[in-house]
């Protein structure tokens, strides 16, 4: 094992993977509790257009996806407010558009389908040093932004109306949360791929929420599940020569199943509807 970590590519994969996993898990707890779990899925489809655009224009796909996903996240918020749409409708509109634009660009260019596949299915073991730098800085910025606004985000997530009455600017925080999610989804594409990155947002959070008795423990448990899944998935990928993204998501699911079993074992009963 020690020898394995002597490889630069593996060090880069573990460093990026762990940071992204923690960012996904922390944001995931807020999103799942807000019933916005599918936002990650929608934004990953939008990021697909950004990756295709980056490859089409021959700029760093991760950077192009970042710009497109953040712009789309803000556009979703504006559309939701101004057109009076539900959040999932606005996300549905933009995610479909994102996939359509991505497919159009791939069809026009004809020569980057192999690279696009790497983004669709994830390839953390092939992460470039420049991408690692970008990932470390952005993931640290996402976690710092959450830490700075932790109390207000928690208050807004639990009781939006009381938070507003206490002076919390919920509209700004909604936008911040969307932008942070967009950034994290783009970073997570390298780990799990566009098709599976939403799992890193939803499943560790759902697992953490099964066993937590406080919000802090939910965040900690969710982060632990995400880190375990990413590191374990990388290990399985190397040992069994299987795709890391799929191994990570399957481990996430096993962790969720285990936490569900723990909850059942404690005899926690569902409240009557």
């Amino acid at each position: 094992m020690q020898a394995l970590f002597a490889y630069g590519f593996l060090q880069r994969a573990v460093l990026s993977g762990v940071l992204i996993a923690v960012a996904c898990a922390v944001l995931g707890v807020f999103l799942v509790l807000r019933k916005d779990a599918m936002i990650g899925h929608g934004l990953s489809h939008i990021a697909f257009a950004g990756v295709a655009l980056g490859l089409f224009l021959r700029v760093l796909p991760l950077a192009a996806a970042l710009v497109v996903a953040v712009a789309a996240a803000i556009a979703v918020m504006k559309l939701k407010d101004r057109a009076g749409l539900h959040g999932d409708t606005a996300i549905g509109i933009f995610s479909s558009l994102g996939m359509a634009v991505g497919i159009l660009l791939a069809s026009l260019a004809r020569n980057f389908n192999v690279e696009l596949m790497a983004y669709l299915f994830g390839d953390i073991l092939a992460i470039e040093p420049l991408e690692v730098g970008l990932t470390v800085v952005l993931a640290a910025a996402v976690l710092a932004a959450v830490r700075l606004n932790y109390g207000k985000l928690l208050y807004m997530t639990f009781d939006r109306e009381s938070a507003r009455a206490s002076g919390v600017r919920v509209g700004r925080l909604d936008t911040l949360l969307m932008v942070l999610t967009a950034v994290t989804i783009v970073l997570g594409m390298k780990v799990a791929g566009i098709l599976l990155v939403a799992a890193l947002i939803v499943i560790p959070a759902a697992a953490g929420l099964q066993v937590a008795s406080s919000f802090r423990t939910a965040v900690a448990a969710s982060a632990a599940v995400a880190v375990f899944s990413v590191v374990g998935g990388l290990g399985l990928s190397l040992a069994l020569n299987i795709p890391a993204s799929a191994a990570i998501v399957v481990l996430c699911f096993f962790a969720f199943a285990a936490s569900f079993a723990v909850k059942k074992g404690r005899g926690v009963r569902l409240p009557a509807k």
């Binding site: 509790l33 932790y150 109390g151 207000k152 928690l154 208050y155 639990f158 009781d159 109306e161 009381s162 938070a163 507003r164 009455a165 206490s166 002076g167 919390v168 929420l209 937590a212 008795s213 406080s214 919000f215 802090r216 423990t217 939910a218 409240p271």
Partner: protein, 245 residues
């Protein structure tokens, strides 16, 4: 403390509040009563700045809701507080502490100071032993006390409670109102209580505002009980709840 001048509010063109003049003074225990759909909750939301009035002026401690930044001076327990997500993984201590984290520097207090304030607020509502309990595991009455502790943790000067005893059993309601009496009488906290339970007026409040889009009465509870407005309300029923003791 709070002043409304000619405040009206329309929703989708329909009038909800019409030409409301209302003054709330320091130390008041005011009950805002009226039938369902009379605009009680809307009135509180307009006062707090959660809804902007269509016309008229609202002043909180001399400032408009938009200008008013000392939000810790106001405690608020909304109507739906009893309908929280039962799976939300927050301990009672976390829920009460939320109000301290709403300010510009997340309350400006250290973790130890914040914790002391939270524990004091819990003690005030008789929930000292429940700090670590998940909020979803408390009964409706205990949850409501926890939400009042959250409203009290910033040491407010005025407390707004919107239908606080909905879904709470009669025995718990009695001890709940006794707690409000103590906060108002002994600690001088101004209380504004939205209710359609006219039975509490005799026992607890000092003044009454009777609302049905317009304010048909605002004055002392004693005069209210002798007024025609009260007699008409009791005669008509108006979906109000009579207290049985």
């Amino acid at each position: 403390m709070i002043a409304l001048r000619a405040v009206s509010f329309r929703y989708d063109g329909s009038p909800v509040l019409v030409d409301i003049d209302l003054t709330i003074r320091e130390g008041d225990f005011l009950a805002i009563i009226g039938p369902n759909g009379s605009g009680k909750t809307t009135l509180v939301k307009v006062i707090l700045g959660l809804l902007a009035p269509t016309s008229g002026e609202v002043r909180l401690f001399g400032k408009t809701p938009a200008e008013f930044s000392e939000r810790g001076k106001i405690g608020y327990v909304p109507q739906k507080a009893t309908h929280i997500d039962p799976f939300f993984p927050a301990s009672v201590e976390e829920v009460v502490g939320m109000a301290l984290m709403a300010g510009p520097r997340q309350g400006g207090a250290s973790g130890r100071e914040s914790r002391a304030k939270v524990l004091k607020a819990l003690e005030e509502v008789g929930m000292s032993g429940s700090a670590g309990t998940p909020i979803g595991r408390l009964s409706g009455g205990q949850q409501q006390r926890a939400f009042i502790a959250r409203a009290l943790v910033t040491s407010p000067r005025i407390l707004f409670l919107d239908e606080p005893t909905t879904g709470v059993d009669a025995g718990t309601q009695d001890s709940f109102y006794e707690m409000l009496d103590r906060l108002n009488g002994n600690e001088g906290l101004t209380i504004v209580l939205v209710t359609h339970d006219i039975g509490i007026i005799n026992k607890h409040v000092t003044s009454v505002a009777c609302l049905n889009q317009r304010l048909s009465y605002h004055g002392s509870h004693a005069e209210f009980c002798r007024s025609e407005v009260f007699r008409d309300m009791v005669t008509r029923g108006d979906h109000l709840v009579a207290h049985e003791h």
